[in-house]
Amino acid sequence: MSGIKPEERLAAALARLILAPDAPPARHIAVGAASPIPAAACWLLRKAGHPVRLSLLHRRSGNPFTEGTRELFDLTGQGRIDLFFLGGGQIDGQANLNLVGTGAWPGRDVRFPGSFGSAFMYAMAHRTILFREEHSPRVLVERVDNISAAGVNAPGVYRRGHAQALVTGKCVFRFHPDRARFSLLSRHPGETVESIRAATGFGFDIPDAVPETPDPTPAELALLRGPVCDEMLETYPEFCARVFGRSEARAPAAE
């Protein structure tokens, strides 16, 4: 099918990972402000009829929390958050995340905004999907300069979940916490194992067959461009305009 935007493909790929039959159930997903694509993936599931609860952390109206921002972390501590999304300025081959900055601590070369709740969420959500569109040796490094949140822990350290996968602009990696290593799960159209290897700073396992990341189905595309976009217009007007060609009918909220 022509005209599929990369963002639409990524959203559909994320949605499939969320529903992966070998993963624990995703009854309640929390989505941060970082990227609209994970939010689109979650709305896609909802609009397709899956009874998943979404807590959209930066929605202006209808903020789900009434205890302030601590409630997300308390919820996660309680084991009620099945899935969270994280990214990183650097992500390494052991799924360590760096949201602090490059160079010496606390980011003397390039300072990123900071770790947010990653050092907790990554360990306490039942699973995490890593998402970063930029797929380059600059981002996907052998070893992060600074660890905001660790991909794995020493035996005995209490931890509820790990990364399930890493989705980039080029491919989908699956993460194996038992051996602290990624394997290539699928490559997006136009990419080869070699093009991916060249763009990746860390080593990863390559199965015999690496399928292409499937296209979104026509039904998925219709949902994304219609009801999913409707839900996202308020929070992500720029994204909706760029990807779905839709602009908000209402006047901007600033007065």
Binding site: T69, R70, G114, A119
Partner: protein
Amino acid sequence: MTTPISLEAMAASVPDGALVALPPDNSLPSVALAKALVRRGARGLRLLGVPVAGFAADLLIGAGCVAEIETSAVSLGEAGFAPRFSAAVRAGTLVVRDCTCPAVHTMLQAAEKGVPFMPLRGLIGSDILAHRPDWKVSDNPYAAGGDPIVLLPALQPDVAIFHAVMADAEGNVWLGRRRECATIAHASKRALVTVERVVPGNFLEDERLAPGTINATYVTDIAIAERGAHPVALLDEYGFDAGYVADYARMAKTEAGFAAWLAREVFGQRAAAAE
């Protein structure tokens, strides 16, 4: 019972060097008071982002008011990295104590409960922990052994600063669901609150308003600052002014641009007219 003071008097009551807790851009920072602190030339402030910092923090850092910041992130959200924070980190002129969101909440909750520490899961394996000699890893006494857990010390800010929708005649303030502001107020020695307006009555007598109210017992002073969160949104009162923040982000990329922005928006005519 509480009589509002002026914004400038409120700014004057924050001593140089104070540990100042600020909510983030999605939770009612008092940008008006931050601007007043810039005007009064505050120095050596130690900021605590609860749990992250945004526009007000970048402004204070750029204006040279801040010696240290403890926070889980500094960001302008959609408008990108916080430019004066980034410049200060590069220049090495700002002590940054990196944290992670639930750790900020936990340290404040420990102060709120009057206990010296509180445990938190996660964190182990993070360099945040490695760079916090004041955080201790202990063995969970409720496990059979071999269950390390982080203990975080209570953190009592000198001053909590935030913006609420309104105050009542008793000095109670109402800010709805943004309850991290309540935690900050409970944990801090003093709470300075700017409000859009003061109204008659007592919110605590109204079952509909009481749940979003912070009791006057925690509120040291109130100042009226209309649109005091601007450019940040205030519940359903006014929205986020993305254009204003984008303009700031663009100008504040350089020292000179930031100075021009300050002259216009904090010290200038337009600022005077707005406040």
